[in-house]
Amino acid sequence: MGTTLTKAPESAAHTVDAAGVAARIEHVSKSFATPAGQQLVLDDITLDVRQGEFVTLLGASGCGKSTLLNLVAGLDRPSAGAIATDGRPALMFQEHALFPWLTAGKNIELALKLRGLPKAERRPRTEELLTLVRLDGAYGKRVHELSGGMRQRVALARALAQDSKLLLMDEPFAALDAITRDVLHDELSRIWRETGVSVLFVTHNVREAVRLAQRVVLLSSRPGRVAHEWTVDIEQPRRIEDAAVAELSVEITEELRGEIRRHGQH
């Protein structure tokens, strides 16, 4: 699979060696035109996601987490800097974004079809993916017949159907209740280990970030900059209520609060 380069229009072309790297974000800035003039949302972000790595992006509102994810997904272009990914990444949203005119299984099959998998292989692969997210027998279910947690699992299966090296997740569990979210954390950890996919996971939930990630990246707000980075050495599998998870969460929360407090001082 070739390397996809998303570059700012004005930046000089340069190749990125993506060996061992699922996504390389280099000096990326993004600004949007507003009535008050150009507003800088992301400022000189540099970040690598290694093959098979699980990285969470953490930040308060206005840190441009989702903007960064859109850039990596290729849905938008950076104003400066370059982003290189190994193939087209898969993207999961906070809303399940499943197509209501298709059944759960057909949603997954559409992703397989769009990536060019031959027709005969689609159905068996779909069943495999449904089994992976523990939804055997849900093939013919309509989206509205599924619970919130089941919908997100179908959305995860659909994202995995793209067979991307990199899975981008934009607060995918934020709208779920606590028990369901906890279960989905376990599932995501298991699936990540089983598939070896690299994950870039955006959240504003510190515990969630520590529970899931090998590396937590804290972004400052307005504009978004990499403020701090932690390597999470806690042994997998983890639980969200583990003491080690709580301890690191306290430290990160302090840092996050500090970042937020700066915006109240003028």
Binding site: E95, P100, V143, H144, G149, M150
Partner: protein, 303 residues
């Protein structure tokens, strides 16, 4: 159930819950959270959906009969219900009843299908190409408010008194409705679906086919429904105005013939048939289609 189940050892601290445990937990959550939906029983449907309109029709007939009995107006202005029924029976026995209906319905349906074939690509182009939208979008929605009977005189002059003129009037009436329905359907597609489609690789024509069209289907169907109503109305206007032996006897011609014969019961017969056909096509074709689409997407909320 499950009385012989052996107790599994509790997972140790810091250890992942064993996979069987997680699977069971998840199955429980799924079962608790899943909404049960089913279709209402037939009896309920009859009482809630069939009874009210039947009652309304019976009520209208009763009021009508009473008005005739108390002689609110001259007999030639208001025929009795049974006189109109007599008219139906005569037409049926002469074998002309179905002929009237078929002449008009076949014309209306053929015209509608042509309007569908033209309105669909037109709507898609207007919805997706900004320049075209700015150029003809306003004209298209303006045309919807133009009564299609206004097209009858120019159509007669251009095309003469023939079937072509009828179809021209139907097209001018129905194409804007169908195209506009599709445009508003496309406009209402949630941006999230478009983003999700793009990340899955559905761009350009593939995006239109796999994402935009199915997502716009409810709006499109509403446009089709309105398009049929406009087709039928346009056709009736054309049939009433355009009288010619070549055109055969449609419902519009029947209505006009009733007027020239000063036969109020024939006029009533024609009006009733026009109304019934319009409602029947909607009930038989469009409503089930619309309900099926909405139901399969979970958009049909039971009140």
């Amino acid at each position: 159930m499950g009385s012989t189940e052996t107790t599994t050892p509790a997972p140790r601290e810091g250890q992942e819950r064993d996979t069987h445990d997680l699977a069971g937990l998840e199955a429980g959550l799924d079962a608790l959270d899943t909404v049960q939906t089913g279709r209402p029983p037939l009896r309920e449907t009859l009482v809630q959906k069939v009874l009210p309109p039947v009652t309304a029709v019976v009520l209208v007939l009763v009021v009508w009969q009473i008005l005739v009995w108390v002689k609110v107006t001259d007999g030639y202005k208001l025929p009795a219900p049974d006189a109109v029924w007599q008219e139906v029976e005569n037409a049926w026995l002469q074998g002309t009843l179905l002929e009237y209906i078929w002449t008009s319905v076949s014309r209306g349906m053929f015209g509608f299908l042509m309007a569908l074939a033209i309105g669909t690509p037109l709507g898609l182009i207007v919805a997706r190409i900004k320049f075209v939208r700015a150029a003809i979008g306003p004209i298209l929605s303006g045309l919807q408010s133009l009564p299609s009977v206004a097209w009858v005189p120019p159509a007669v002059i251009w095309l003469g008194l023939n079937d072509k003129m009828m179809y021209a009037v139907i097209l001018l009436g129905a194409v804007p409705s169908i195209a506009n329905g599709l445009v508003s359907g496309v406009d209402q597609v949630p941006p999230l679906f478009l983003r999700a489609g793009r990340t899955l690789g559905a761009t350009g024509l593939r995006g239109t086919w796999h994402i935009v069209m199915p997502a716009a289907l409810p709006g499109y169907l509403a446009g089709l429904k309105q398009g049929w109503a406009f087709s039928w109305r346009s056709l009736m206007a054309a049939e009433i105005i355009a009288q010619s032996p070549d055109l055969g006897m449609g419902l519009g011609q029947l209505l006009e013939a009733g007027r020239t014969n000063s036969s109020m019961s024939q006029v009533f017969l024609a009006i009733l048939l026009i109304l019934i056909v319009g409602i029947a096509i909607d009930l038989i074709v469009f409503s089930p289609l619309e309900r099926w689409v909405l139901r399969s997407r979970g958009l049909l909320v039971k009140s």
